[in-house]
């Protein structure tokens, strides 16, 4: 009984060589555009959705590069959970006053830019000097989920435990915050 050899990497579906830069060149501007929209868009929900789009595109970027486990996890966690969470809270708080947002826009943007541009300059400066990194890129990077699992639970086992505890604490904390103060969460069926 033989099952067809798994293609394995999603990227390989289009049998693109991993080294080619075409997917990078296509995806990066899209990501930046979506991110810009997320930052700039006046309407909060649109900003959130654009954030979801940019995160999804980053996930696709990971897939094309070859880190498909990370890409899928990114997709699940960010697009599936965080974006929904942000959108959900927007739904609840329903910030409506875009007009006032637009009115005060120029002043806040100027102050924002004044602080961000030096940071940008520094980063560009650093990146441009990187130049001489050894090109260790390899055609088909070794990235199997079993290997991830094995490394995760041997070298990074304490980190996994800490993150596990952290996530539980966060869940309990968030549930406590969300509770109406004082009142036990009443459900109609109990009355």
């Amino acid at each position: 009984m033989v099952w067809t050899r798994p293609i394995g990497r999603i990227g390989r579906i289009f049998s693109l060589s991993y080294l080619s830069m075409t997917p990078l060149l296509i995806l990066s501007p899209l990501i930046l555009l979506a991110a810009l929209g997320a930052v700039w868009k006046a309407r909060p929900v649109h900003a959130a959705l654009l954030l979801a789009l940019s995160l999804a595109l980053i996930a696709v970027l990971y897939l094309t590069i070859g880190a498909d486990f990370i890409g899928l996890v990114q997709f699940m966690v960010y697009v599936g959970a965080v974006a929904v969470l942000i959108v959900f809270s927007l739904l609840i708080t329903r910030p409506g006053d875009e007009a006032e947002e637009l009115a005060r826009r120029p002043r806040s943007v100027v102050t924002g830019l004044v602080c961000t541009l030096p940071v940008l300059w520094v980063l560009v400066h650093v990146v441009s000097r990187l130049g001489n990194l050894p090109a260790g890129a390899v055609e088909n990077p070794v990235f199997s989920v079993a290997h991830v699992g094995q490394v995760l639970f041997t070298r990074y086992a304490p980190a996994v435990l800490v993150v596990g505890v952290l996530l539980t604490a966060v869940m309990i904390g968030a549930a406590l915050f969300a509770r109406e103060p004082g009142k036990k969460p009443q459900c109609p069926s109990d009355s």
């Binding site: 990066s28 980053i58 880190a67 965080v82 990146v127 969300a178």
Partner: protein
Amino acid sequence: MTPLTILLTLSTFLFTLGLLAVLTRRNAILILVGIELMLNAANVNFIAFWRYGPPDPDLTGPLFVLFSIAIAAAEAAVGLALILMVFRHTRSTDLNRLDSLHG
């Protein structure tokens, strides 16, 4: 223009956009959007260096990204819970109005 530099420029701009969002946005939730962008910029860097940098057998890059995704999710959850609590109290998520904590 090696793939590495493309990814680095991408992460730089992503980071700056995130910072810009954090500094200019007035709605607390959208600041979280900015923070998510900054975190993702860092992740892109990790994956870029893992993929195109020196060969790394025990996957420190991707694993770090894995942990940072988990932490980001946790942070988003707590952040939003806090914002909602503040919203329930002050009926507004406008950051400038929440400035009672000062000298």
